[in-house]
Amino acid sequence: MQFHSILFEQPADRVDGDAQDVPSSFRDLNLDQVLESMVEGREEYRLEAFFYSPLTAAEPVLYRHETLQDLEKKEILDSVTDFSESMRRVRAHLGRAAKLRHKYETERWFLDAAETYLAAVNTLKEKLALCELGSRALMGLHEYLEAYVLSPYFSSFAAETQKVKDELASVVYRVHIRGSRVEVSPYGGEPDYTPEVEQTFAKFRQGDVEDYTVRFVDRAGMNHIEAQILDLVARLNPAVFGALDDYCVRHETFLDDTIVRFEREVQFYVAYLEFIERFKAAGLPFCYPQVSSRSKDISVRGAFDVALANTLVPGERVVCNDFHLEGTERILVVTGANQGGKTTFARMFGQLHYLASLGYPVPGSEARLFLPDQILTHFEREEDIETLQGRLESDLVRIRDILQRATSSSVVIMNELFSSTTVKDALVLIAAVMSQIMELGVLGVCVTFLDEIASLGESTVSMVSMVDAEDPSVRTYKVVRRPADGRAYAVALAAKYGLTYPQLRGHVTS
């Protein structure tokens, strides 16, 4: 099959246009932050469209894994990023040409764009030939480039470009400015005056002095005096400028659609590889997950919240966690210390599934993940908080929506559901919601302060966020698989702030 896309093997799957709908879970999982970091400086590629289109089958995911594994090789990635760099210049030149008024100025920017494009395509083709490609996508691209570069169109285009360029480069003219009169003529071999002046005073040279030459900033477009001079230069060199005119007319559209599409799509990979590079440099692992749209046996080692890691200062420790579900297990119920990493854990669970369904390597040393049809999340939202009554109502409305949309292939994440109501009410409500969820058989996480939920049925697995054994005020941010034990962490936390009974008494009596 002829190569068409580096992201989609099947032409029918292709996402060509702009942003799709933002998945509802996106903000809850802090994936918006991840996306923002990734696309920074890449706005022109409009990568959101790809980011908002997760894959739901294993085969398309593997197509991307292969490509990414190729791109992780330095020489391949370098070739691609160099190519992108050149293509950006091509677009900049074309954009500039489109804005300019002077004919010969426009034409010259157009020529530069074409020259840059030709060189970029050639270079990419040559560099890829030297690389060992393992992916269907990049091998397809390389084949495509080989054929394109060998085509008669491309070679005659290249030859013409070079000829016009050489002729322009050979033009040397001189300008004689005297008062208001400007005279333009071919350069006649007069010597450079500056070295003579330097020579005259050379004997006084006393070591380094300041550089007084002025840097002139490039303006966009020439002024009318430069334009008039250029017109006269053109009159002095009619053949050269005639050839330029002719060239521009004949090559008006020279960009190849497939190559342009490749350059956009490959950013989807490059952006992520660049984004995770600094985590990898800090020793955090990433792995290609085993994915399945059928098996709900999932298992992850050494995973972390990539959005949180992104906000930490270098050197700050990132805590990694493991989890797995097998057999009839479906829901991880997370209880334990306040501020102990429960929410982070839930978010991480969602991120892992989302990133996996984009075809990306995921934060962790080992992962087997399910490809859901959708990820549904329920996180507390600040703007929703009004009265307690209002909040409970909105919680219920949202969870109803989630239950209506969920299928057995969905992932559902609930964080501190019904925390605004009494324990007795909350227990009843959560139990009701959980039974529906368990009925559906969805994979998910439920973060709660209610230990009872952890043992609702055989599909729930209890996980607990841990504190330091020596000093319970210190959170380890480790979430481990063990029965919920409901320890009181509040006292430890109070001690940290000097608010326990003996502390306050000691303070008063001293």
């Binding site: 001189r174 400015i177 430069e226 250029l230």
Partner: protein, 503 residues
């Protein structure tokens, strides 16, 4: 072109950092008196002589080179003063040339630089004239080279060439630049071209058979003139930069001349002052640092001499081979004055000056360090001994072999036994590091200890006291005595002897 009047093969560094001990040195030796006498009311000279005196030369040849130049100066003071005035005058005139509000325009940079160069070249011509008139009267290597260089480099032909370019750079026939087509076919690689006279004629009056086109900017097209100015600026950018740098270079040459002559002007001033008082001076003989030398006749404290009307008392010392000079003896017998005179003489010799003595032969030193008794720390943060130790620690870090260390009652702030022990260990260690030490002390324990152990490499001087208690302010060779005649002082102040008071 190089001035080289201070060093045989390098410029004097007028911006050199002062050594870390400069402040202590000035305070302990009273250097400001010397500096002020040298500077007169010329603050520029002041800055230069400070740097020269505080950065000693260590090579005897380099010292002799300066001594020779200074001899020439003493023989031809008016010529030297005129050279200095030319240099100062041109620097001041140049400062007045307005830099303009911005330096972003090559046209303005060029105009300013041309004016500066005009000022500078007129001074160069004056220097040439002085060289022509007086060059032959000078004998020193430094001046012979300097005048010879002026004559060889600033020939009439050369000065005419400079004048020609200064005129040409005002572009009386317009600006001719070449260019290539750059990005967007806008002109680039602008190069200012200089046609021969003949081609200018062709350019201006036709007769050129090459094709050319032209246009004229309408009178009211302000933007057009602005654009044209920018084009001109791009064309002359490199040459303006080159001219500005040339102006800087010529300026540096004249500025270096001013710096280096300023030192000799300071020496001339001081010499005139001393001559008026009929105080003797001599050119000291610098001895390589490997040899320990200190022999002098009539060595006096120049700062004291400058401060008092009467002539001051000089000392004769034969201290060759003695790394340690231990000075003991009567209070107010001239010990500190002697110590200062040794330090001052060392510094003056080190920078190539004449010395305040009838005769002086001493080893060069890498630096002079002083450790003088100080007032109590007024902030009371540290004890006095701590303060002394801290200062000594800094000295020990900075001092190098062949340096001279002057100690004045060091470690007298503690009891004699402790003070002696501390001092002894320091002195011994530094002597082993090749440091020469002059140590004024009342601590008999210290002085006597060295006398017993180091008699062959130590010289013991004593402030002379006549039988009747009168001081001569002379140092005489003599072993330390267990008294420093405190009784004399007591008696003078109380009018009775301390033993009488007791009895």
């Amino acid at each position: 072109m190089k001035v080289y009047l201070m060093h045989r093969d390098q410029d004097f560094d007028a911006q050199a950092e002062f050594p870390s001990n400069a402040e202590d040195l000035s305070q302990d030796l009273g250097l400001d008196t010397l500096f002020d006498a040298m500077a007169g009311d010329d603050s520029f000279v002041l800055g230069i002589v400070k740097r020269a005196i505080l950065s000693s030369l260590v090579d005897p040849d380099a010292i002799v080179y300066r001594q020779d130049v200074l001899r020439d100066c003493l023989n031809h003071p008016s010529v030297v003063r005129e050279l200095y005035d030319v240099a100062v005058g041109v620097i001041e005139a140049e400062r007045k040339v307005f830099w303009g509000l911005s330096r972003d325009s090559p046209e303005r940079i060029l105009a300013r630089s041309l004016r500066v160069l005009q000022v500078l070249t007129s001074s160069l011509k004056r220097l040439r004239e002085i060289a022509d008139q007086h060059g032959e009267e000078f004998r020193s290597e430094g001046f012979v080279r300097f005048f010879g260089m002026l004559e060889a480099e600033l020939t009439d032909e050369y000065l005419n060439t400079v004048d020609f370019h200064l005129r040409e750079l005002t572009f009386p026939r317009g600006v001719l630049i070449s260019a290539k087509l750059g990005q967007g076919n806008v002109g680039t690689h602008y190069v200012l071209r200089q046609p021969s006279k003949q081609s200018w004629t062709e350019w201006l009056f036709g007769g050129h058979n090459r094709s050319k086109f032209s246009f004229v900017i309408p009178e009211r097209d302000d933007n057009g003139f602005k654009a044209l100015a920018e084009l001109t600026n791009k064309g002359i950018n490199r040459v303006a930069g080159a001219v500005a740098q040339s102006a800087d270079h010529v300026h540096s040459f004249v500025a270096v001349l001013r710096d280096e002559l300023a030192f000799y002007i300071g020496c001339l001033n001081l010499h005139e002052e001393l001559s008026k008082k009929e105080e003797p001076t001599c050119f000291p003989v610098p001895v390589r640092s490997e040899e320990v030398a200190f022999t002098t006749r009539g060595l006096y404290d120049i700062c004291l001499a400058l401060n008092v009307e009467a002539r001051v008392i000089g000392n004769d010392v034969n201290g060759d081979g003695e790394s340690l000079v231990m000075i003991t003896g009567a209070n107010q017998g001239g010990k500190s004055t002697f110590l200062r005179s040794a330090g001052l003489a060392q510094l003056m010799m080190g920078c190539g000056m004449f010395a305040p003595a009838e005769q002086l032969r001493i080893s060069v030193s890498a630096g002079v360090f002083t450790h003088f008794e100080r007032e109590e720390d007024p902030t009371m943060r540290r004890g006095k001994l701590e303060e002394e130790l801290e200062r000594m620690e800094k000295i020990a870090e900075a001092i190098t072999p062949s340096s001279l260390l002057l100690c004045n009652e060091s470690f007298a702030s503690t009891n004699e036994r402790e003070g002696s022990e501390i001092a002894r260990q320091i002195v011994r260690a530094l002597l082993e590091r090749g440091v020469r030490i002059f140590f004024v002390t009342h601590m008999f324990d210290l002085a006597e200890g060295f006398q017993r152990l180091e008699a062959d490499t130590a010289l013991f001087l004593r402030a002379e006291r006549m039988q009747d208690g009168r001081r001569t302010f002379r140092m005489i060779e003599g072993e330390p005595l267990p008294t420093s005649y405190g009784e004399d002082l007591y008696r003078r102040i109380f009018g009775t002897s301390p033993s009488a008071a007791g009895g």
